[in-house]
């Protein structure tokens, strides 16, 4: 009997386990899923926690609840992937040999990558909301907020859910206004990119939101260090932004096991074929979700679409058939804009976000790249869909892994020049 190993029971790994359990004959393939952590977090919910909109119960479930029967689940830490020997060594001392390996070890924040970030101000004036602990601590800090300089900051790209810091800024504007603190708060958005909206159509359609909400934008800011004494972030070219409360998105990196195993790039992301999801170095290794170096968003929707393609390709690999170059970079994300509204975007490697309707051409009910209350309700409903449909790899009728161009207004510039081919 042959063996398939899946490393990581987060969003992508859990979906793969559920897809493959339904499609693979257990008499031919033994499947093993390994993860060191017992809790599954609904990460999109971290955005809402600092504002008291979601609590722990909304975003945490036991991982085991989503893992199908009929495959081995090992709760343990992986010490090393020895891809030359097709073997995974566990920290507990044992090892597992594999014929096929899926790496779904995700990405995590690495605040220690920025000088001074984890020093005196950390979790006192400097917070992240990309971890459960960070979002919880920020909730407490916001409860005590009386006004001052609130700075939302991205350390470097790529980050998980690249729209989350914008959403945080929009929600902060709304939340502060509700509490009568908006006039007492200077809200600043600091990005290493050359604008808050970098895609021409998004910039044209959504650019007014920042002005309307009086959010100041500092661009081209590449952080060199956090000055804890003077409460400032300092860039490599010595620009400074003072803060009373810094909400930062620290550097995002792939899991340390990828570095230990020599399988990653400078951020521990795995060089992966952007259409087949096969490792560029090892033909029997595949990567999915945030663990890859794909030029696609690191988002749950991307993992969901990738999982459909990877399931097909794993079945091909099991039968020693050629792989399908079928992943197109499809992503689909709701962007909260505050005051009970949200924007929806649907895009891929080649097509940037545009206006239109989704999923049904002309009918919607969701509107693309346009604020609406229904989009906000869609975002809230998504939590239920995540726990009950997506993680279990149940079908999503009408939404395929290939991005549909129907229902989209596609001017010539919507096709991204130089996009990953």
């Amino acid at each position: 009997m042959k063996r398939l190993l899946i490393l990581g029971a987060g969003t992508a790994g859990t979906m793969m386990a559920n897809h493959l359990r339904k499609r693979v004959n257990p008499a031919d393939w033994r499947m093993t899923l390994i993860d060191q952590y017992p809790k599954h977090y609904y990460q999109p919910g971290f955005l809402f926690m600092p504002f008291g909109l979601y609590s722990e119960a909304d975003v945490v479930r036991p991982k085991r609840d989503f893992i199908p029967r009929g495959l081995d689940y090992v709760e343990g830490k992986v010490e090393r992937i020895d891809a030359e020997k097709n073997r995974v060594r566990l920290a507990s001392g044992g090892s597992l040999d594999y014929d096929l390996l899926i790496v779904a070890t995700g990405a995590k924040t690495a605040p220690d990558q920025t000088e001074g970030m984890t020093e005196g101000d950390w979790r006192k004036r400097v917070f992240d909301f990309y971890t459960f602990e960070g979002a919880t601590a920020l909730r407490r800090a916001l409860r005590d907020w009386q006004g001052g300089r609130l700075v939302v900051h991205i350390s470097e790209m790529p980050i998980k859910c690249p729209v989350a810091p914008l959403e945080f800024s929009f929600l902060a504007d709304w939340w502060l206004a509700q509490r009568g603190l908006r006039e007492k708060t200077e809200l600043t958005y600091v990005t290493p990119l050359s604008s808050a909206f970098t895609k021409p159509i998004c910039s044209e359609v959504l650019g007014h939101l920042l002005r309307q909400k009086r959010i100041q934008v500092v661009t081209d800011f590449n952080i060199a260090r956090v000055d804890n004494e003077r409460h400032r972030i300092v860039s490599w070219d010595e620009k400074e932004v003072p803060y009373d409360l810094l909400v930062t998105v620290p550097t995002n990196m792939g899991d340390a096991v990828i570095e230990r195993s020599g399988l990653g790039d400078e951020l521990n992301f795995i060089p992966t074929d952007r259409h087949t999801l096969q490792s560029k170095e090892h033909p029997n290794v595949f990567a999915i979700g945030d663990a890859t170096d794909l030029p696609a968003s690191k988002a749950g929707s991307v993992a969901h679409f990738e999982a459909e393609v990877l399931t097909k390709n794993l079945l091909h690999a099991m039968r020693e058939e050629p792989l399908e170059k079928d992943f197109d970079g499809h992503a689909n994300c709701f962007i909260e804009t505050g005051y009970g509204k949200a924007v929806l975007i649907d895009f891929n490697y080649e097509v940037q976000p545009v206006q239109g309707t989704f999923p049904l051409p002309g009918l919607g009910p969701f509107s693309l790249l346009k604020e609406s209350r229904l989009n906000h309700w869609g975002k809230l409903a998504f939590r239920w869909i995540y726990w009950n449909v997506l993680l279990k790899a149940a079908p999503m009728p009408g939404i395929g892994h290939r991005m549909s161009r129907a229902g989209k207004q596609l001017p010539a510039e919507a096709l991204q020049a130089g996009a990953a081919a």
Binding site: M157, P162, K199, D237, E266, P295, Q416, G418
Partner: protein, 104 residues
């Protein structure tokens, strides 16, 4: 898509002046784009441009500061000295690639 003539070559560009067809890029075009940005290309500049080119073909995106540093071996301070105020976007423009972007 707008077009422009530069150093005797026709190139397609977007509204911000970034080339939209890399096939039209060559060293003379790069030198002229650099001049527009107030930069005279030296060997040190070419090392950065060469890395961006090689890396884009492999990764599909313009390398960030960390990758330039760790993989390309180009110190951050040097990048700022060569391409002042927003080195990555300036270097990307001269290398004929899109400016580093997010999903929106």
């Amino acid at each position: 898509m707008p077009q422009k003539q530069i150093n005797g070559f026709n190139i397609d560009i977007n509204d911000e002046g970034y080339m939209t067809n890399h096939a039209q890029w060559n060293r003379e075009v790069a030198a002229a784009l650099a001049q527009e940005a107030g930069i005279t290309l030296t060997d040190a500049h070419w090392r950065v441009l060469g890395f961006i080119d090689k890396d884009f073909k492999e990764k599909g995106v313009v390398a960030g500061m960390r990758r330039m540093n760790k993989v390309g071996g180009i110190p951050t301070k040097e990048l700022y000295a060569l391409f002042p105020d927003g080195p990555i976007k300036k270097a990307a423009k001269i290398a004929g690639y899109p400016k580093p972007a997010s999903c929106v």
